[in-house]
Amino acid sequence: MLDNVVDLSRLQFAVTALYHFLFVPLTIGMVWLLVIMESVWVMTGKQVYQDMTRFWGKLFGINFALGVTTGITMEFQFGTNWAYYSHYVGDIFGAPLAIEGLMAFFLESTMIGLFFFGWNRMSRKQHLLATILMAIGTNLSALWILIANGWMQNPVGAEFSYQTMRMEMTDFAALLLNPDAQAKFVHTVSAGYVTGAMFVLSISSWYLLRGRNVEFARKSFRIAAAFGFASVCSVIVLGDESGYTVGEAQQTKMAAIEAMWHTEPAPAAFNLLAWPNETRMENDWQVSIPWVMGLIGTRSISKQIPGIHEIMAQNRLRIRSGMLAVTALETLRRDRNDKAALSVLNTHKKDLGFGLLLKKYTADVAQATPEMIDAAVRDTIPRVAPMFWSFRLMVGMGMSMLLLFGWAFWASLKGNFQHRPRLLKLALYCLPLPWLSCELGWIVAEYGRQPWTIYGVLPTRLSVSTLSVESLYGSLAGFVAFYTVLLVVEMMLMLRFARQGPGSLGTGRYDNETAH
């Protein structure tokens, strides 16, 4: 039973973010598939490609509605539930969110109206232009959100100001070009492309297994197989790239993902499987492959990767330094002209966040006991087992999808795939994989950032709003109720239209036509 506002706020954020992220990847991927299908229609004039655009577009629309619905929650929640966070970093974090609205979301949302309603009112090329702009808007939207998120992982281009009691932007370019954000963006949108491709591939396979709408399904399958194969390669390469940047900016996350308790001589071994024991702070057992971790994490054979114990030793020093920063800041908040305190704060500013970790144990950080410091040091490491397993499951699913798309792509080049029921059945059953791995990826990225909302700057505990536990239970119950009903409704419509197939367009060219 959770009894405090911090844990309940985290739970509510996790529930609503994971739920929102059920719809986002499919939107991001499907828009490009729609662009491809419609482009082929405009270029060849073959009717089936327009029907494909419209039918898959219909399913896209059902998904998109919930993406929009649940996306508004995310924007509201920073203010409603994370008020101190919003104040403390809004100067930096708010900007990409606002620019996302101005540059991307307006474009996407305006064009989606033309995509659905503009078919008979625009020339083919104009309509294609609207579809392309919709796709660009969607992807730019992801870019700005991940710039914001990348800054939470690796807070560059900002400085704390004691006068305004918050972080302030010093370098917008650094925020934009944050290597964490760039790698995350490509990794995340590629995962969306895989999700879109898997969706089309699985449903097309189902039509082929039943021998329905064969020409329509064959063409859809081919596009999905090629697009999915390219995308899954990109996910894996860029996942490796974000592994590398994580290595630089967030060694803690890396150490937890790998259950690397101790620094090993370079190049470190990769724990393929292990049983992390949180209390002993060791692995009960492990199966390791020599060298691999050092190569992935540092791209060298000589650089060391710090283990958990060494990171904790460093963090202990930073917490001690942070205590001085917090104490100096408190003096300055009482007297803005205290030169001595200002000089102490400036010396220890980069550790201010570490000092704030002690707020969990005492209001008077200057008087923290050695036991409190020990506890705070231990807090700087996220729990290892969830990280270790989430990451391995995610990668395992990614590799499985690489094999599936490789096979599907090969078969679609040879053109005999509709007579390969094993491939088609596999493609059908793999449908949930991209969703599962996307959710696990979110857990690795966000759970792995704990105990921080902004890594090294602002502890999660201090980020919340001043609310009552009752309010949190009430809102959480409301979200769960609404989201459950919405999911049931969405799945029902999705299944209904997927089953009915392109006949739902009412063109007279497919089976299962609805009566006019």
Binding site: I62, F76, H87, A95, I99, L102, T110
Partner: protein, 379 residues
């Protein structure tokens, strides 16, 4: 490089412009949602009504989302304090908004009377609750809201949800709701014909009278019965934002101070009257397009009146007036304000251009024949 004080005022104006954009654009489809059960008496009529905004509601809603994002970026303390303080009110807005995307997109996908009626009431809720609550919120801002900051600027809201529902705030809620419904009705009259158009016009006249009466009453109440707030220490517009660095006192009639200081601002309430009256007259004369923009002018008058009455206050605190948030002490850093101004100046004209394109493509009356011909693709 603009100086900090000017940037602060520019952003106060820009947030006002975004709120106005929200009221004009998202407002008209919310108003259509409110009118939906009353002007559409059978399924075909309701589909006609829904399809007047079908291609546009999603883009329009981004005015709301961008407005929220802009407040976050330009004034994080206002965003944080208002959203967390008005916790349940905000959740009600959010949950009401849930009904819109699904209501629009899912309603006509299944041909079943119960299903469709659930979603058209959903669209009614999604169109009616947010403007009502925003009006109530403004009504509370005008009276001051019970909150305070500690020395680390952690805000604590001391009131309850039920405390928000006081008589003056409810009156503001009625004004807000009526003006948005009015605006939606004008739009509906512009995009439909025959019986739906007549019913829409009928509602416009009714709502118009309600807005004019409610706005006048709220104005009198504000002038005579509600204390305003003034900064009693030296005002330093160029200073680094620190809401605890000032002292504030409550003064009767203070909300009228700006009209005496800058008499031209009296044009704002006047614009509200002129806009709505002109919209009614133009609509009666058959100029529905001009009526729509006259109605927009009326909205600008009401929002401008609320804003200028409180200036420089944004969120006065009734329980600890020194914690009040003003234009001078609740904003982002100079760099962020400047950067966001550049982004707005680049993208706002583009947004207006392609929004105009989308409306041009979809122009003309929505009719029962249109819905029939597009049975599988229309909402």
């Amino acid at each position: 490089m603009l100086d900090y004080a000017s940037l602060k005022v520019i952003w106060w104006l820009l947030v006002g412009v975004l709120l106005l954009g929200f009221a004009i654009m998202d407002g008209h489809d919310m108003g259509v949602g409110t009118l939906l059960p009353f002007v559409g008496h059978n399924d075909t009529e309701r589909r006609v009504v829904i399809n007047t905004v079908g291609p546009h509601w999603d883009g329009n809603q981004v005015w709301f989302i961008t407005g929220g994002g802009a407040i976050f970026a330009a004034s994080p303390l206002v965003y944080a304090t208002a959203f967390s303080g008005f916790y349940w009110a905000m959740l009600l807005v959010l949950w009401a908004l849930f009904f819109r995307p699904v209501g629009f997109d899912y309603r006509s996908k299944i041909d079943n009377a119960t299903w469709r009626s659930v979603w058209h009431w959903g669209l009614f809720i999604g169109g009616t609750v947010p403007p009502l609550i925003f009006g109530v919120a403004f009504g509370n801002l005008l009276q001051g809201v019970p909150f305070h900051f500690d020395s680390n600027l952690v805000s604590t809201y001391e009131g309850s949800f039920w405390g928000l529902l006081n008589p003056f705030a409810l009156l503001c809620g009625v004004v807000s709701s009526a003006m948005i419904t009015f605006h939606g009705g004008v739009y509906l009259a512009h995009r439909t014909e025959g019986v739906i158009q007549q019913r829409a016009q009928h509602w416009v006249m009714l709502m118009g009278l309600l807005v004019l009466a409610g706005f006048s009453l709220a104005g009198l109440w504000l002038a005579l019965g509600i204390d305003g707030y003034v900064i009693s220490s030296t005002v330093r517009p160029e200073a680094l934002p620190d809401p605890l660095a000032k002292t504030v006192s409550r003064v009767a009639g203070a909300w009228l101070g700006n009209y005496q200081r800058w008499p031209l601002t009296m044009l704002l309430p006047l614009t509200a009257y002129l806009g709505f009256v002109a919209a009614m007259l133009l609509l009666r004369a058959g100029h529905s397009f001009a009526a729509f923009w006259a109605s927009g002018l009326g909205l600008a008058g009401v929002i401008g009146t609320a804003g200028i009455s409180m200036f420089p206050f944004i969120m006065p605190s009734s329980s600890n007036p020194a914690s009040s948030l003003t234009v001078w002490d609740s904003v982002s850093s100079q760099l962020t304000l400047q950067l966001m101004l550049v982004a707005t100046l680049i993208f706002m004209p583009l947004i207006i251009l392609y929004t105009r394109w989308a409306y041009r493509v979809m122009r003309g009356k929505v009719t029962a024949a249109y819905v029939r011909e597009n049975n599988h693709s229309a909402y």
